[in-house]
Symmetry: C2
Subunit: 331 residues, 2 copies
């Protein structure tokens, strides 16, 4: 079966992102190396533009719009990092954006998204009532009426290819000491891990790519076991970026083909990991961003032995309300 993207799509995305996305740093931590016995490389997408890897996929998708699409603009429904990624990418590319968000989205997120739209009078945020209205219907209706292009948060080849550039960079940045043995990536809808798995296995054929989900939201783990996409109710977890109900029709086949397996961590382990990253690495990481590191530090059930191996860990983002962050750190 043909997968939705190839390494060439990721190379293309990398070219498109040059000068727009940050080439984020790779961080090391003696503490983490000592605790795990591994040589660990953290790819710090928490310091990516708008604070998460999502910028990569959004910009890569929007940069491929044709002139008519650019003129009419982009529409997205999201209250999270995808919203901000689309709003910022649209502004940078000079096109209007409409972001559809629930009425009860945190004010800070609405404000941040408006901030990224700033300066473009054609851009707006459309609020809906999540108890009485269907966001997908709203999005589709708006897209049709205004001729705007809808970009979904993960199940799109250009989005997946953009996200894969995070792993491409990590592998380039760590090439000096040899290939990575293992790569740990968080899993929501599968956009990041599918792109990263394509990049990593193309460049380091021996690498084992493992996904990490919140224990309460292990739909992809279930899907792999079942051999088909399993849909679960919206999971309760602090990892809001991984509160997806199911992987995508494009992302899942890539995960099936290239990912060794999915392991899970619970919310308490996420909080401990966020605290360790603040204390020892001096970085702010959002709960979803700590998934992969938490699996490493807590030796999540199912992971292979990591001692003595070169392990890449994707830190996916750092966007967490500071009041909420303070609450989690002091819990």
């Amino acid at each position: 079966m043909n997968l939705a993207i190839s390494i060439d799509d990721i190379f293309g995305a990398a070219r498109r992102l040059e000068g727009h996305a940050h080439r984020t740093p790779v961080l090391r931590s003696r503490t983490v190396d000592e605790l795990t016995g591994a040589t660990v490389f953290f790819k710090a997408e928490n310091v990516q533009r708008m604070g998460a890897f999502k910028f990569r996929g959004a910009f890569n998708a929007l940069a491929q719009f044709d002139p008519t699409q650019r003129e009419r603009g982009v529409i997205a429904f999201s209250s999270g990092n995808h919203a901000q990624a689309i709003a910022l990418s649209a502004r940078l590319l000079g096109m209007p954006s409409v972001i559809v968000m629930p009425q009860d989205a945190p004010a800070a997120k609405v404000a941040a998204t408006r901030g990224y739209q700033a300066g473009d009078a054609r851009s707006e945020i459309v609020l809906y009532d999540r108890y009485t209205q269907d966001r997908e219907a709203i999005g589709r209706e708006l897209a049709a009426r205004r001729g705007m292009t809808l970009i979904p948060p993960f199940d799109h080849p250009h989005v997946m290819a953009g996200q894969g550039t995070a792993a491409l960079e990590l592998i380039e940045q760590t090439a000096e000491g040899g290939p990575l043995d293992v790569l740990l990536v968080c899993v929501g809808g599968g956009g990041l891990i599918s792109g990263c798995a394509v990049a990593a296995t193309a460049l380091n054929p021996g690498v084992e790519v493992w996904g990490v989900e919140p224990q309460a939201g292990n739909d992809t783990q279930q899907s792999l076991a079942r051999g088909e996409i399993v849909r679960i109710p919206t999971p309760r977890t602090i990892a809001d970026g991984a509160q997806t109900e199911a992987s995508g029709r494009l992302t899942f086949p890539v995960i099936q083909a290239l990912v060794r397996g999915i392991v899970t961590v619970d919310d308490a382990q996420l909080v401990q990991t966020m605290r360790l990253m603040a204390e020892r690495m001096k970085i702010v990481v959002e709960p979803t961003g700590a998934l992969a590191a938490a699996a490493l530090l807590h030796r999540a059930d199912g992971l292979p032995e990591l001692r003595g191996r070169r392990v890449g860990v994707l830190i996916s983002g750092g966007n967490v309300d500071i009041g909420r962050y303070a609450q989690l750190l002091s819990a």
Copy 2:
């Protein structure tokens, strides 16, 4: 008058630190550039080994011990970053360390210092009662009895030269775009700013070096106005690394000769700055570490116009108890 150190001492320190201290990254922030109109370069000593610039000075001092000194070891009195810097440097250089700390020092700091001493049975922490005992007398008595060398936290040429390597690196790392116009550095006892002022003015003769003190602890500002070292009661401020009562006899003349002036910020401004650095830059900074950035962001009274200029900002450290940090962020 001869100053205690020259640029050659700092070059020497840089050689000694190679392969031991981290060449810490220089961080940029679009948000900060937009807020200030300046081009700002943050030197991230919060990710230095043991979490603060203090490692530079301690290691540079201990690396110059003669064989007898090495055998007998080093003694320091400090409950803060200097303690950890000495303990770690001593372990790396294979010598014993004795750290004199108040009995009521936070358990986390005692534990961290013990952690850095780990593996050396000859090293220890000596606790004293700060209400009934004089720590300097204890330190001197121990030093004399055991033949150990006392290394003070700032007023020592090797310590000052070591700290200066932070500015040396910052200037090297930002050289591509031209010299820095302004350098902002926090001031406690003056070890960091004196070393940095020597490095910066030697390499970028046009640079203006400004010091930043907590409003409640502006002894150096007073000293500059008076033309002699002014001693104040231990100031009440959350910037615990700048709770010094007076600059040093070696550091003050350097500050008089090379620093343009001292400005101050209050605790509320420090907290706002720590929050902005967490939110937008995704980094954890201790209160003292935020002094220089707070002066920039709050346009501290006395600073020159910074719009359109290239400004270096020293982030001195990131060691803050996580419970305390959470409290400050949520305040």
